[in-house]
């Protein structure tokens, strides 16, 4: 674990509330970004961000993980899945399978995410739209890696798959993003 995180957690355990505020601030953007990209709107993202921290605060007394951000993302991901299940109780979690043969959990990718709903807006970049269009588990791996900065081992633990499956999902995501982004890169090159 980041030595600063360790120190802040220890100080909070001793009663220093400001240490926790520092932690919340430190991970505010990447965590909220991850949640925002996995949920269906800012209201949902706000709720899940708050509940993630509530659970983290309650769990800090017995916290023993190595990567604090990875832990927060795992809590947030579980909340996203719970919320999604509540919203679509009839959807089977293993009805469909991904290209790599692992069960596909239906995540918010099937519903329009914040980017999907804003697809008509000009201010959303092609990169963000391309990521939005990825299948659920691939999008999740991509976001955990790129946005939350998690290692593949942590991603594998979070998704309860092998490292090879996590790597395969990332490869699929990159393979899908590459042609979508090529056009944008070419446009950028042409633009003086």
């Amino acid at each position: 674990m980041d030595s600063e995180d360790r120190r802040l957690i220890a100080q909070y355990r001793e009663g220093d509330v400001e240490s926790l505020s520092t932690l919340v601030e430190k991970y505010r953007r990447p965590l909220f970004g991850f949640i925002l990209n996995m949920t269906e709107g800012k209201g949902d993202a706000d709720d899940i961000f708050q509940e993630t921290w509530f659970r983290a605060i309650r769990g800090l007394a017995s916290y023993r993980q190595k990567n604090f951000m990875g832990w927060l993302v795992r809590i947030a991901r579980n909340l996203v899945i719970d919320r999604h299940r509540r919203q679509r109780p009839g959807v089977s979690l293993d009805a469909r399978h991904e290209e790599d043969g692992s069960p596909l959990i239906e995540l918010a990718d099937r519903a329009p995410g914040p980017l999907g709903r804003a697809a008509t807006r000009d201010d959303i970049s092609a990169v963000a739209l391309a990521v939005e269009s990825l299948p659920g588990e691939q999008k999740e791996v991509f976001l955990m890696r790129v946005q939350a900065g998690m290692s593949f081992r942590e991603i594998a633990v979070t998704q309860k798959v092998s490292i090879n499956t996590a790597l395969a999902r990332m490869q699929y995501a990159l393979t899908k993003l590459r042609p979508l982004l090529r056009a944008e890169f070419e446009n950028q090159r042409e633009t003086p």
Binding site: Y12, G15, S21, V24, G33, V127, S151
Partner: protein, 201 residues
């Protein structure tokens, strides 16, 4: 080395999860393979572009206030529990030690098993009953074997049955007649009237 594997190694190398040995092999492959170099470069470009372009946003101020309030609340709760916990620590240690001592004492004081087997105990019971029977009749009974000369189990069992009035030596008439058969007596407590005199043998 397959390029698909090298692509994975490229990803692991970026997160520092590739072993030094594989890192060396990856570098060697990249020097020689145009495809894998291009794959690595485009991956870097995509992740860099995505990093800047993905929705980030920021939670609402209300959410931030709620989190801070929860943090304060839990910290206060933990602080309330802490002195109690500090007090409880030595007390719980002492309690555990006391329990250990009680358990050890219980083990030490446990009743030692009777060195005699069931047959010897049965013989003792029989002897007591016999003495009683002899006392009431003033002799005339044939003693069963003493505890030092134990009978066979079968013989002892039939003796006991006989003492309790359950043997086959009663006549049919005795059995039919209400109250004709004496009630069985607990040979240990002797809470019921003594058995009528019986002749052994």
């Amino acid at each position: 080395m397959r390029c698909k594997t090298i692509e994975r190694w490229t990803l692991l190398d970026r997160t520092g999860e590739l072993s030094p040995r594989r890192h060396g092999r990856l570098q060697t492959h990249l020097k020689a393979c145009d495809h894998c170099r291009a794959w690595r470069d485009s991956t870097e470009a995509i992740t860099a572009a995505a990093h800047g372009a993905l929705a980030t946003g920021t939670p609402s101020e209300v959410t931030m206030v709620n989190i801070r309030r929860e943090a304060r609340l839990r910290a206060r709760e933990a602080a309330r529990k802490r002195p109690l916990t500090l007090w409880l620590r030595p007390i719980s240690g002492l309690a555990a030690a006391a329990l250990c001592l009680i358990a050890m004492g219980g083990w030490w004081m446990r009743p030692t098993p009777d060195p005699f087997d069931g047959q010897a105990q049965l013989s003792t019971i029989l002897m007591m009953l016999t003495e009683e029977a002899m006392g009431s009749e003033g002799g005339g009974t044939t003693l069963p074997a003493t505890a030092d000369e134990p009978l066979s189990l079968d013989a002892l069992a039939s003796e006991l049955l006989a003492l309790q009035g359950m043997d086959a030596s009663y006549t049919e008439a005795e059995l039919r007649e209400p109250g004709g058969v004496p009630q069985a007596t607990d040979p240990l407590t002797r809470s019921r009237p003594a058995l009528p005199a019986r002749i052994y043998g």
